[in-house]
Amino acid sequence: MAKAPARSTAAPKKTASTPAPATNREGPRDPIPYDATPAELEKFYREMLLIRRFEEKAGQLYGLGLIGGFCHLYIGQEAVAVGLQSALDGDKDSVITGYRDHGHMLAYGIDPKVIMAELTGRAAGISRGKGGSMHMFSVEHKFYGGHGIVGAQVSLGTGLAFAHKYRDDGGVAMSYFGDGASNQGQVYESFNMAELWKLPIIFVIENNQYAMGTSVNRSSAEDQLYRRGESFRIPGMQVDGMDVLAVRGAAEAALEWVRAGKGPVLMELKTYRYRGHSMSDPAKYRSREEVQAVRDKSDALEHLKRVMEGAGIGEDKIKDIDKEIRAIVAESADFAESAPEPELHDLYTDVLVEQY
């Protein structure tokens, strides 16, 4: 296992994760970084790179006016969705997140073409052009959205977990939300019920340090967010979200606990968003240097590349993957630009399921 490079102050110091503070309560075992095979490393790299290039392209299409409204990019956070979702069982488990959702869908192997076509508002989009960037869903992949109201996905995710337990189907729900979202009241109402009823859910706080222009320490009395479940007896884990192997390793420890019927786990993934909150954010609340320092020192893709080199994966192979991903992204953009808009009568479909 390669050692993580030096970290900036913005990113966490440790390679793996910190267990909850000394307590005599039981919790998940201490996680260990995932020991990936070379093929798995390539797969992680491919998925993370796809997210990055896809998001860069989305940013370009926004600049060209092909994407409208709000568009929240996942650049910088790729290791979180890829590391966590790689540990899930795609046939059983369910995932839900907020509006910064493109990466989670790509990490689930959903076709980039239909995601990009949703961003451009075309009939071929995954929500048939009706949802847009913030509102995308794939029931087939047990991906439940794509929600625009900050915090909503936490209660909804708790409901998904309730359904897993009710049906006794062995599935686990994973609910992603931001550091900012972690201050919403419904989060704590959900925590209480989830632990009280031992629901199979992993609450994932993607702590990218900012909620729009508000840094965590300006909004959070307890800024160690993994401790936010303590008064509900939910064990917490703090994980380096810039290291896909640490993320995957922590996910396995959390999943063991949850699948054993012991109730929820709260994971705080320390990560960073490189771009503005959405496309229209002038991002005056942080310095260029801060962003650059994270890019230089903690970038998840660069880190993974070094691990790959250590595992004997050559530069040629990496170049090939880069090329392949560029082609996939270019194809999805072409598709999304040329696909037709929805038919006008689609305005009135899907409002209700049944006819009355």
């Binding site: 409204g69 949802g131 729009m212 508000t214 229209s280 409002v351």
Partner: protein, 467 residues
């Protein structure tokens, strides 16, 4: 192989911007993430980052240039190998691209960056309106955007009354998500301009409690879509306190923020809640259209001893209007305003719909139909007297509302006309409302779902043909 850098759209409503500053020069090597330029949009100054690696070829639009249309080629980057070649959107060699002819969005872009929704386009000059009787004749005017007018109103009231404070998400250091609170932190400090966590239910309740405790809070919701988290406190706490306490305990608070459809932000972020709040006894509900009313009514709202829901509109924030240049421009709550006097038909609206109604009235005038346009301004209490007096004169009523038709302000007014103006009606009342669907994202569907001036014109003609 050169890549064309185009003036980017950097906000949902941006159509053009100022190229404030170049941070690179011709011949510089740039890599992904480098800042190339600073661009001023309708809301803020944004940094424009390089996406590709390469060398800056030509800079085609000089810094300091205003009104650069989105999509204009502003520079070229000469790429190195395939890295740069892949995203190149255009085929024209850089040398041939003269700035003047480069204004079009690339050929494969079917829809330019112009927001699709009705009424989003900036009108150069809003239709002239009848002067407001509340403003003394001969008052000097200043041109202000709605955004500035709201900010000035808050600042003036904060200067006058230490009990007034502003609280909400991103209102202080960020200067407001839509820049309505710009500069307030600088002037009033962190005691009175307060950034909250994302916790609407909590800070709406905190605000209501502070009002009960003797302060005068202005609670900003980033948009009213998020006030749904807090509607319990608006309705169960704020609206009912005075009544339940037999008049002892008050809750003088302003809940404000943008309401209604913005541009391409989808179903959860594009809703008009005016009819919801207007249905609740114990609340005042205000929804102004122009900057003068925004200012005068915001000041009145802050001074009121009652809880006020103040509904703004994102698409109106950047529009400029004449505002009376008075030291204390306060307007009465509960009074509609005749925006355009006419004799053939009464068109009643509020908020962004007023602009569409005025636009329609101009078109109708060209066809010989003289429409009276009324801006309700306050939705609770509703100024039915002004509407009914107009109806008495024109005998035809059309209501224009950027919102759903069912259980709307329009349906309420139709009922008022039935109950109190039946004998004046020469034809059934008609309403022009959005389509009765959640707002879709796709540009064409969004446009189809929202009201526009042609629909108002058609409704007026229909109502006139009925009698």
């Amino acid at each position: 192989m050169a890549i064309e850098l185009k003036m980017p759209a950097l906000s949902p409503t941006m159509e053009e911007g100022t190229l404030a500053k170049w941070l690179v020069k011709e011949g510089d090597t740039v890599k992904s993430g480098d800042i190339l330029a600073e661009i001023e949009t309708d809301k803020a100054t944004m940094e424009f980052e390089a996406i590709d690696e390469g060398i800056v070829g030509q800079i085609l639009v000089a810094e300091g240039t205003d009104n650069v249309k989105v999509g204009t080629v502003i520079a070229t980057i000469t790429g190195e190998g395939e890295e740069a070649a892949a995203p190149a959107p255009a085929a024209a060699p850089a040398k041939d691209v003269a700035p003047a002819q480069a204004g079009a969005v690339s050929a494969n872009a079917p829809t330019p960056a112009v927001p699709a929704s009705a009424g989003t386009t900036e009108k150069a000059a809003p239709t002239e309106r009848a002067s407001d009787p509340a403003i003394p004749a001969g008052t000097a005017m200043v041109r202000l955007t709605v955004r500035e007018a709201l900010r000035d109103a808050m600042a003036e009231e904060m200067r006058a009354d230490d009990r007034v404070f502003v609280m909400g998400e991103e209102v202080a250091e960020y200067q407001g998500a839509y820049k309505v609170t710009q500069g307030l932190l600088d002037e009033f400090g962190a005691r009175r301009v307060i950034d909250t966590p994302i916790t609407e239910y909590g800070f709406a309740g905190l605000g209501a409690g502070a009002a009960m405790g003797g302060l005068k809070p202005i609670i900003e919701f980033m948009t009213f879509n998020f006030a749904m988290q807090a509607i319990d406190h608006i309705i169960n706490s704020a609206a009912k306190t005075n009544y339940m306490s037999g008049g002892q305990m008050r809750c003088p608070i302003v809940f404000r923020g943008p309401n209604g459809a913005a541009s391409r932000v989808g179903a959860q972020h594009s809703q008009n809640f005016a009819p919801w709040y207007a249905s609740v006894p114990g609340l005042i509900v205000i929804a102004p259209y122009d900057a003068a009313d925004a200012k005068g009514l915001m000041k009145a709202a802050i001074r009121s001893e009652d809880p006020v829901v103040f509904l703004e509109n994102e698409l109106l924030y950047g529009r400029g209007f004449d505002v009376p240049d008075l030291p204390d421009h306060v307007l009465p709550i509960g009074k509609a305003r005749i925006m355009r006097a006419g004799s053939d038909v009464t068109i009643v609206s509020y908020s962004i719909g007023v602009g569409l109604a005025l636009e329609a009235a101009d078109q109708l005038a060209a066809e010989g139909i003289d429409a009276e346009v009324i801006d309700l301004r306050t939705l609770r209490p509703l100024d039915t007297a002004t509407v009914l007096a107009s109806l008495k004169k024109t005998n035809h009523l059309v209501i224009v509302e950027e919102g759903w038709p069912v259980c709307s302000i329009a349906s309420e007014l139709a009922m008022v006309a039935m109950e109190q103006g039946f004998d004046d009606l020469d034809a059934p009342v008609l309403r022009v409302c959005n389509e009765d669907v959640p707002l879709p994202y796709a540009a064409n569907l969004e446009k189809a779902a929202l009201i526009d001036a042609p629909r108002v014109v058609a409704a007026v003609k229909a109502v006139r043909n009925r009698g």
